[in-house]
């Protein structure tokens, strides 16, 4: 299977309430997919299904081999618990290697190296010792992104990553994502601000009443 994700006749929902059917879509290597739609149209649910957190009610959601176990980097929405958490940036980023760590009690030096590289590539190495809860919204998102990149992932899933960020921080973040995508990473992001996201997207999946999946032809 050359595509990373293939979805057919997918129906998702919580409990026994199936939501509206999701249009068939695929995510190929190197794609940049934006998932948009009105509130409640199931964007987060879809992302969680791809991440393996919930099972579809019906239909198929096929992942490329090897993707399910550590091949996916997931940047979920931040809850209040994390915002107030006393952890250093290094500790948060390091926890991205947990799938690799498995049953071992401590991280190997190779895993520590990965965390360091991830922080450097996102320009937050200087924040390593800082406390997570003292960072700005934009910095925290970079930390969570670094965490997701720490593992050996081929697909990056982001759930409304720019919630609560001001315009400049939002713009910064999307240009960062563009760079990462240009480096070969496949990205699927749920977003509610169309303009900034669509600027870099290769595909758009719209959920809700006017559900559709289309390719973006060309960018400036």
């Amino acid at each position: 299977m050359t595509n990373l994700v293939e979805c057919r006749d997918l129906r998702l929902g919580y409990g026994s309430n199936a939501m509206q059917p999701c249009p068939d879509f695929t995510v190929g290597a190197g794609n940049y997919l934006c998932i948009v739609g009105a509130n409640g149209s199931g964007k987060t649910t879809l992302l969680k299904a791809i991440a393996g957190l919930i099972k579809p009610v019906s239909g198929t959601l096929a992942l490329a081999p090897g993707l399910a176990s550590g091949g996916i980097g997931y940047v979920p929405q931040q809850g209040p618990l994390q915002r107030d958490f006393p952890a250093s940036v290094r500790e948060v980023v390091q926890s991205g290697c947990q799938a690799m760590r498995g049953w071992r009690p401590f991280y190997s030096s190779a895993e520590r190296r990965r965390a360091k590289d991830a922080m450097e590539s996102l320009g937050i190495a200087a924040l390593a010792r800082r406390c997570y809860r003292e960072l700005s919204g934009g910095q925290r998102q970079r930390v969570l992104l670094a965490r997701a990149l720490c593992g050996d992932c081929r697909l990056l899933l982001l759930d409304e990553p720019t919630t609560g960020l001001d315009r400049d921080a939002t713009a910064d973040f999307y240009s960062l994502l563009r760079e990462i995508n240009a480096g070969g990473m496949t990205i699927a992001t749920v977003t509610h601000d169309h303009s900034a996201a669509l600027a870099s997207a290769t595909h758009v999946l719209t959920l809700g009443t006017d559900a559709s999946f289309r390719r973006i032809e060309c960018h400036g």
């Binding site: 991440a51 997931y74 006393p86 947990q98 406390c131």
Partner: protein, 278 residues
């Protein structure tokens, strides 16, 4: 009446045992308390300790040689029930806990009065609730059980340190990374129940939650990383428990309350230090 010096008290084996057991118990309670507080589950300590009280009362009435034989399994069962019901069942997690814990307290006290196993039911209840002297009257079996379990919990915690961090900071992320979160949560519930039951020997039923919670929140005032929080909480609790037991032994004050008082006073110091560190 010439005063007994602390060194002289140390010559009694039960005082030495109390110090060793007390320090180990409070250490594992503080370590457990860090993730408990961070996951906003502080109330669990209180609720489960009430269930344990009920179980202990029944065990006492049935003349168990060691009440832990009943209180451990019952509290573990309660913790597991809570863990399941917390995940969106009909009765919300905290309501279920309230019902279980208050019910157990009432049942326990009722049972103790219906079939008293000593002439001094109120005094015994007081001692159990506030831990005034329990740590000094440990039998050899009690001692080995408490020490053994505490050491086991501490070692387990050390091995699972990173897993604890992952699950506490972001459970969904852990699950997405393939971690078996149900297994972890089940194990955690069992360990919390164990720690609560053995902590009751030290500070009594009503004060158990402070043994779990105060070191963690004190540490969070000054520490800037998860590791620092854990280390500070551990040192905090060892110092306060040692001081608390020593003061209680010499001054004749109830052990449980003295330890908790030491905790609270030290918490204020930490809060002040934390202000300065900002």
């Amino acid at each position: 009446m010439d005063e007994v010096t602390f060194l002289e008290y140390l010559s009694y084996p039960f005082v030495r045992n109390a110090l060793v057991a007390g320090v180990l118990i409070s250490l594992c309670a503080a370590l457990l308390g860090v993730p408990l507080v961070l996951r906003r589950l502080s109330f669990m300590g209180d609720g489960l300790s009430h269930v344990a009280f009920g179980a202990m009362a029944v065990a006492g009435v049935l003349n168990f040689a060691d009440t832990m034989a009943l209180s451990l399994p019952v509290t573990i069962a309660a913790a597991l029930v809570l863990m399941r019901s917390g995940r969106g069942a009909k009765t919300g997690g905290d309501a279920m806990l309230a019902m279980l814990s208050v019910g157990a307290m009432a049942a326990g006290y009722l049972v103790m009065n219906l079939k008293p196993s000593s002439s001094n039911v109120s005094g015994d209840v007081c001692t159990t609730l506030f831990g005034s002297v329990s740590i000094l009257t440990l039998t050899t079996l009690d001692m080995w059980l408490s020490v053994g379990l505490s050491v086991a919990v501490c070692v387990l915690w050390l091995f699972a340190y990173n897993r604890v961090f992952d699950m506490t900071f972001d459970e969904s992320y852990a699950r997405a990374s393939g971690a078996n979160t149900t297994l972890f949560n089940t194990l955690a519930a069992v360990v919390v129940a164990v720690v609560i039951v053995i902590s009751m020997r030290l500070v009594g039923t009503l004060l158990v939650s402070s043994l779990l919670v105060v070191p963690a929140i004190a540490a969070m005032r000054v520490a800037k990383s998860f590791r620092a929080v854990c280390v500070v909480a551990a040192v905090f609790t060892v110092v306060c428990s040692l001081a608390g037991i020593m003061i209680a032994v010499v001054a004749g004050t109830p052990v449980g309350s003295t330890i908790v008082a030491a905790d609270i006073i030290s918490f204020f110091f930490m809060a002040i230090i934390g202000r300065f560190l900002k």
